[in-house]
Amino acid sequence: MTALLEVEGLRAGYGPVRALHGVDLAVQEGGMVAILGPNGAGKTTLLRALTGMVHTSGRISFDGRSLAGLSTSTIARLGVAHVPEGRGTFPALTVEENLRLGAYTRHDAAGVRADIDRWCRVFPQLAERRGQAAGNLSGGEQQMLAIARALLLRPRLLLLDEPSLGLAPMVTRELFAVLGLVKREQRTTMLLVEQNANLALELADHAYVLEAGRTVLAGPAGQVRSDEDVRRAYLGY
């Protein structure tokens, strides 16, 4: 396996405030990597750095190509989909329009229609509300819409920022079941930022722990899970 995404010495920040102080990580093609860490560790900034939403320095290589300095829309066109924190749906547009926007860069109209139908079968809640404004959906439904929209890009790399945030445990389970399906069936490469370390480590094959903008621990998910410190800090047992 080769690394689809390689990051070396990544620094990023907002104006004078630095949030990342040199992060290294690699995501294998078809793999799923979880990023764990406390609030303020720089997890969201890391994802924003990968899609060109904050100023960065350091090396980001996606499929052998440097992403440094590319605009967010160009990075999306290369096949990187990003489900941002807070979901980032278009509240005044309908569910269907949100999904069509996910496929904005694609030109295979028939394939897009088939994919929309497919994700509506996977998320029946969306099918029932296709014509409604996205702003009327519940939090869980909005998250499903955000993920379905990202998948419509047919991404080579899917970035997910705290998909379980603010959701009921049952809804979170359902959502992670779908992510498992995407991993198995689509073989979509994923980078998952998640507070719920237990769930994330069940699904991921690799994990990194971020603290104060630095990688402090990395390894196969099972190994990170059994790490004494991680268990105490993030798993709560």
Binding site: E97, L101, T105, G139
Partner: protein
């Protein structure tokens, strides 16, 4: 009865001209959150381009086409060069930029074409059409027809095409739009180009009814603001309906209320803006965003 009908049709025609400019204001407000005070002056400048070409011997249709193209390109250039740098700035900075643009365009037109009145030809024949025994001005009917066609085309663009969907998305949530691969900057440029085009349309429709000079659009802009405020500043449908109401009210008051007459007509839109702001600040069709996070 005939006089009432004529007044109403003329009012809707005037309202349609205001509506074209009001649509331009709404388009820009929705996409960039800017109230473009220079919209009228940009329209006046485009109208002068049409006048100059026609005066130089070009056929009217060619002069109009060239003016529309110039307006479209000019609107895009203004977005790229003047508005983009203040994109993230606060509201007052943006207002000052559009006010500066107002003065700049107004002065430039005066410098190039002078400050005298010019006659501007109408694309419509002057006579009247008899509809059910009522003589109605062909020009008024033509203006209403043009506006309805424009509204239909805009509806098709925004509701039925991928480009229109992307423009709506970019206006609503620029960050998420970039994440799905939309070039947001280009969408904003396109929005300003379209708005300038709509303004130019208002300019060439109103110029034959008044005289063309550098202050051509001053009054129209006030009426368009009143129409947009009445309809709701974020609603295209509201802008059209609001402008029609303003046009009809203005004409009825001018015709039937002797105390108002032609001189005080301009008080009507000002009174409307005042009352709307007091009673229903979001306008008839404007609605607070529905959202849940």
């Amino acid at each position: 009865m005939e006089r009432l009908l004529q007044t109403v049709v003329d009012g809707v025609a005037d309202g349609s001209i205001y509506a074209a400019l009001a649509l331009a204001l709404v388009l820009i407000f929705r996409s960039t959150g800017i109230v473009n005070f220079a919209q009228g002056e940009m329209a006046m400048f485009a109208t002068f381009i049409a006048w100059a070409l026609h005066d130089g011997g070009r056929p009217l249709w060619l002069a109009l086409l060239a003016a529309f193209a110039a307006a479209f390109l000019g609107g895009m250039a203004i977005e790229r060069l003047l508005i983009r740098p203040v994109e993230g700035a606060d509201a007052i900075t943006k207002v000052i930029v559009t006010l500066g643009l107002f003065i700049l365009v107004n002065a430039a037109a005066g410098w190039i074409w002078g400050f005298t009145n010019r006659g501007f030809p109408s694309v419509f024949p002057s006579g009247v059409a008899r509809l059910g025994g009522v003589a109605l001005s062909i020009e008024s009917l033509g203006i209403i027809g043009v506006l309805l066609a424009v509204v239909g085309l805009l509806g098709l663009l925004f509701q039925r095409t991928k480009l229109g969907l992307a423009m709506r998305a970019a206006a609503q949530n620029p960050d998420s739009s970039r994440l799905v691969g939309i070039r947001v900057g280009r969408m904003l440029m396109l929005g300003w180009g379209l708005a300038a085009l709509l303004g130019a349309l208002a300019g060439v429709l109103v110029a034959p009814r008044l005289f063309l000079d550098v202050n051509l659009m001053g009054g129209v802009l006030v009426y368009a603001f009143a129409g947009a405020a009445l309809g709701g500043f974020d609603s295209p449908l509201g802008a059209v309906v609001g402008s029609w109401i303003i046009g009809v009210t203005e004409n009825l008051a001018g015709t039937y209320v002797s105390a108002v007459g032609a001189d005080l007509k301009v008080l009507v839109p000002l009174a409307v803006i005042f009352v709307v702001l007091l009673v229903r600040p979001s306008g008839l069709f404007g609605s607070p965003e529905v959202s849940r996070t």
